[in-house]
């Protein structure tokens, strides 16, 4: 069975796991490939205005996959992937939203992962998926094991500096934290940071301008978990915890000169997480740039702001020491 996997949203976080599981269960995953202007425009047409850019892009990928002729579309309902946390309400409703956007033209595989409830963990989700793919339940366990192995391997590679941008997105590797490079921390949800179309190639542009880049995925788990716990009340959004935790870690890292936080316009969690990061950066005297993106963002305007930011970092480097 040809199963369409949109290269959008949590593809950028969990692709190694789910692609392996699908293959192990005898399906043939068809990945939609990099976002293009056309993908984005198609998604914008299918969505209500208020939906955030990455969800619109997701719709675009789904539509492109349907055009390709697939047997089913893979849109897991990821409610909660860690204890006491959610992803975001839109992920909880994603299969319903996609079904509405595309009509009944395609079968949707939507296993539910909700670790807040008993009996709806990964094992159950994969068992359900196995059933839908016509495989015996005993294969599910093995598939999930192989999936986690692949995921762990990928995450280790990310921590070592091979970003999802290249390992999952097929973009040639960027130079990251080598000793002589000056570093900028780039924060944000993986589906914004690593999607070249959405981020307007932020990572590539920084690299070409001679900067090293540190993203949340390069920060070891223990370090960002510690950062996330430094808040008086822990965040209940998985992606937000990761962003805040990584930000807190990168802010005190002596080699990181400034932080850029990439958010989608209208992102609910980031409207609060971004504010917390900004205030913490201000307290610590770390230069911080918030870039809000939507489908109307002009490339030239964004790049001017980034240039102004890096120029400012250059002046700080040349002149006065960092205020503490």
């Amino acid at each position: 069975m040809r199963v369409g996997v949109p290269q959008a949203l949590l593809y950028w976080t969990y692709a190694p796991l789910w692609l392996t599981v699908l293959r192990q269960l005898g399906a043939e995953p068809v990945v939609s490939g990099a976002t293009t202007r056309a993908t984005l425009d198609a998604g914008v047409k299918l969505a209500v205005d208020e939906v955030c850019l990455p969800v619109k892009v997701f719709y675009g990928h789904c539509a492109a996959l349907v055009e390709l002729g697939i047997d089913a579309l893979f849109v897991p309902r990821l409610v909660s992937v860690e204890e006491r946390a959610y992803i975001c309400p839109k992920f909880m409703g994603l299969p319903d939203m996609v079904r509405h956007a595309l009509g009944s033209r395609v079968r949707i595989l939507a296993p539910v992962v909700d670790l807040r409830r008993k009996g709806s963990g990964y094992a159950e989700a994969v068992a359900e998926l196995a059933g839908k793919l016509g495989r015996p339940a005993r294969q599910a366990k093995q598939a999930l094991g192989a999936g986690w192995a692949a995921q762990t391997e990928a995450e280790t590679a990310w921590e070592r500096g091979s970003l999802p941008l290249s390992t999952l997105g097929g973009v040639p590797p960027l130079p990251t934290g080598s000793a002589e490079k000056r570093l900028i921390g780039v924060l944000g949800h993986p589906y914004n940071v690593y999607d070249v179309q959405i981020s307007l190639d932020l990572l590539g542009r920084l690299a070409r301008a001679g900067w090293g880049v540190a993203t949340a995925e390069t920060v070891p788990r223990a370090a960002w978990e510690e950062g996330a716990r430094s808040l008086p009340k822990e965040l209940f959004w998985t992606l937000g915890r990761r962003v805040y935790g990584a930000a807190a870690h990168l802010m005190v890292s002596p080699t990181v000169e400034g932080l850029i936080h990439l958010v989608s316009f209208g992102c609910g969690p980031d409207s609060l997480v971004g504010e917390l990061v900004r205030r913490e950066a201000e307290r610590r005297g770390v230069p911080f740039l918030l870039l809000t993106l939507d489908e109307h963002t002009g490339e030239a305007g964004v790049w001017t702001r980034i240039e102004a930011f890096t120029d400012m970092l250059d002046r700080r480097e040349a002149g006065a020491p960092r205020p503490s």
Binding site: C88, A101, G268, L272, E275
Partner: protein, 354 residues
């Protein structure tokens, strides 16, 4: 939020706390809040912040705010508001009531910490008075929704409701509250003309913007004046029941999940699922249309907005979605409401002819 201040004030006063109630939400509240709040935070956070600042001006030293555990942003409001207030140099202590889903006991334990001379017996007495007020306000407000489009003199029904709220706020026994309720209901009945034909429209959406008239620019009053009887399921009493006595509402939750199921098959936080379920219910009860009200960028309601067109397609129920924020203009809103009501009137005229 709406009339929530009345029972909360009653409860705290009765327990012996020194209570400051900020003035009702106004343009000034919004401006104060918007100046300090993160730009892309949703409207309720900004208005809440404005309320706190206005309470501080009246001498408040601490503010009470509810917490939560997501996925809606509300659960994290208090943390951000505290940061913002501190950052702007306001010395206002924030007491955050984390009502961990259905654990009334933990909430009581928290109350005990900061109300002197707290006993459960006393709490129960104060709580029953507050609860009676909530139910009375909800009952009178339902009647207000029916009276508005039928009132003989414009504004008459709202005047009765305002007077009832003032009296109810001061009432010191459940019996007094029930007397006031009865009086208000009779007055509302007296000023309505039952002969008048009205259009019935359901209201769904995010609870704060639905219940706080300032946040939705008095949409229900505007609708009433356009000859619309507003019907909604979201009331203060239901909201509190849902949060404090979760075990009692399981059956209703299942019912809502069944209604929404064909369109939205999972809880999405806030009142997203309820919005879809209520719209289906309104369609089945042959309302002329439904209006969805929510703060701009509200995540659960965006999910609901996405699937509501299917309810429209299946039941022929027109739905108007209103996202409100600090830039929402009165004239623009009025025009949209008028156009919507005209559309509904046109449809019903057509169905009569056909």
């Amino acid at each position: 939020m709406g009339t929530l201040y009345i029972p909360v004030e009653t409860l705290l006063l009765d327990l012996g706390a020194d209570v400051v109630v900020p003035p009702p939400c106004s343009q000034r509240t919004l401006e104060l809040g918007t100046r300090l709040a993160p730009e892309s935070a949703c409207l309720p956070l900004k208005l809440g912040l404005g309320n706190f600042l206005e309470a501080e001006e009246l001498g408040a030293e601490a503010v009470v705010m509810a917490g939560g555990c997501g996925p809606c942003r509300f659960g994290y409001y208090a943390q951000v508001q505290r940061e913002v207030l501190e950052g702007a140099g306001h010395d206002l202590e924030m007491v955050v009531l984390e009502a961990p889903q259905g654990h009334l006991r933990e909430l009581l334990a928290q109350l005990r910490r900061w109300v002197p001379g707290f006993t459960f017996g006393r709490f129960w007495r104060s709580f029953s008075l507050a609860w009676t007020k909530i139910l009375a306000i909800d009952t009178v407000e339902r009647s207000l929704q029916q009276a508005r489009p039928r009132e003989a003199r414009r504004g008459g029904a709202d005047a009765v409701f305002a007077r009832f709220l003032t009296d109810c706020r001061r009432a010191d026994s459940p019996r007094r509250v029930r007397v006031l309720q009865q009086e208000a209901l009779e007055e509302l009945a007296a000023l309505s003309n039952p002969e008048r034909t009205v259009v019935r429209v359901g209201v769904v959406g995010e609870i704060y913007t639905v219940l706080e008239p300032f946040a939705n620019l008095y949409t229900e009053r505007r609708l009433g004046r356009l000859g619309v009887e507003v019907v909604r399921r979201l009331f203060l009493g239901d909201w509190i029941r849902e949060h404090l006595f979760r075990f009692r509402v399981q059956k209703e939750r299942r019912h809502l999940a069944e209604l929404a199921g064909p369109y939205l098959n999972h809880f999405v936080g806030g009142h997203g699922l309820e919005s879809v379920a209520h719209a289906v219910e309104f369609a089945r009860k042959s309302m002329a249309g439904t209006i969805q009200i929510a703060p701009l960028t509200c995540m659960p309601e965006i999910v609901a907005e996405t699937v509501l067109p299917e309810v429209t397609a299946d039941y022929g129920l027109p739905v108007l979605t209103l996202f409100v924020d600090e830039h929402t203009g009165e004239a623009g809103l009025q025009t949209r409401l008028e156009a919507f009501v005209d559309l509904l009137a046109g449809r019903s005229a057509k169905s009569v002819e056909g």
